[in-house]
């Protein structure tokens, strides 16, 4: 059941067509012109504004890009504290079903607070 769910998600993601910065820690964030199928559009040379600060926790935080562009994070800066970012990450998991491990919540929230939180 679980395996089917993951496969279904993967199919959905693959069919999504709009660029997806997937969670693989080794993969760089996808750029605007790159589709999930690996095809390249004429806009590929333009950098997608999907980068986050490269610092500890980054590899977990880019998981957010599975469902939305990472400009959501930069747009919502810098006014949330650790409690605020923790609430946001938990909402993404509990309400929107983001496929992020509960054990990653703390690291992601700390990363977001340090780089995109209240100074």
């Amino acid at each position: 059941m679980r395996g089917n769910g993951i496969a279904r998600r993967a199919r959905r993601i693959a069919s999504c067509g709009i660029m997806l910065a997937m969670a693989a820690a080794t993969a760089p964030p996808a750029t605007a012109g790159e589709t999930a199928a690996g095809q390249t559009t004429p806009d590929a040379s333009r950098p997608e504004s999907d980068e986050l600060v490269n610092a500890p926790g980054h590899e977990r935080a880019v998981q957010c890009g599975a469902c939305h562009s990472l400009d959501y994070i930069r747009m919502n800066s810098r006014f949330l504290d650790l409690a605020g970012w923790t609430a946001v990450v938990n909402k993404m998991i509990n309400v929107y079903g983001a496929p992020i491990a509960k054990t990653d919540v703390d690291a992601i929230a700390r990363y977001l607070t340090e780089h995109y939180g209240q100074p």
């Binding site: 709009i18 997608e48 504004s49 469902c67 562009s69 400009d71 747009m75 810098r78 605020g84």
Partner: protein, 419 residues
Amino acid sequence: MTRTDLPPGGQLRRQLLAIAAGTGALALKPLRLLADPVGGTAQLGFTELPGGALAEQSLQALPGKVPLIRKTARPPNFETPIEYFRTPITRNDAFFVRWHLSSIPEVDAASWALTVGGESVQREQRFTLAQLRSDFEPATVTAVCQCSGNRRGLFEPHVPGVQWGIGAMGNAVWRGVRVKDVLARAGVKGDAVEVVFDGADRGALDSIPDFVKSLPVDIALAPDTLIALEMNGEPLPAMNGYPARLVVPGWTGTYWVKSLVGIRVTPKPEGNFWMSTAYRLPRGKFRTVSFQSQVKEANEPITTMVVNSLITSLQSGQRIDRGRPIDVRGIAWDGGSGIARVDVSIDDGASWREAALDPDLGRYSFREFSFSVPAAESGSRVVMARATNRAGETQVEKLIHNPAGYHHNVIQRVRVDVA
């Protein structure tokens, strides 16, 4: 599948999709959503926005659109720059773009169909675009579509979400067919409580709740509630819900479901995330109409828009030569009572004078106002505009804070420098 076992929310959408797949009815092709940058951010103003939002946004053109203020790329959320509000009707190619879910279908008009069903109809119906056009009397309404969270970025303290400035809104002439006429063909039963609307958009993952919204049955059956097939005399832009979207005059944009594919009439409240959890206000904070079947102990759905206005002729920090006029022009709107008056102050609210109103385009439309006074003395002045509707409601001086950042209608304060 029988009518009575139609489940709520995402399952309904999956069933509709299954039906569509079976008949080859709906082509779900991803749209290209890449935007071309043509400008910077500094001129896009509104320093109250969070610093990150100001730094992030830029002017970019989506397919079929002029450059708009990009807030987010995926899903696309793009705001209309202020210069497009200097006319009472907002151009289609400048109309704001707001999607919740990142998979936006490219609908094929020839195979598109609208399914009408649910426990509280007598017979299921299915309509093609051609049938909607030929079988029903056309109806037209001029109405403002405004995102519930328009001006969220101006909230202090800031709240998370899309950090909209002033342009998550637009006013258009919508033409289509009445929901009540379409539902009459299905036969609404006496036990109907809500009418549920599903669009063709979907989440990147199955776990993401499908975007489904409901209305009280009396609002769905109101003569001005339309399934719009045209916007300002043209087909709807893809980014604004082609080929058909719901138009709910007076109600906030969240109910204006885009790329409509399913309507379901139900004897009980719709319980999906977008109704039961999202788009809610703490009870008792606003005087807007109540969505009775959805009220909970602590909160209730957002419904109609609050009275509001926007000064479009002046920018903060603008220099005006002494002796020249201070021209205050703008637009005012509300949730459907209609605008009764707009008052303008050029002395930071110490005194107010009534502005002239341009012709009334209908109670759901933007109403233009204008006021002019010579800039007699040098110095900084704070210009304000305050709209009042026909129900006697007016804009607030102090923000009514709420967790999701809705209903920002604080009186604007624009500083001009007379020299």
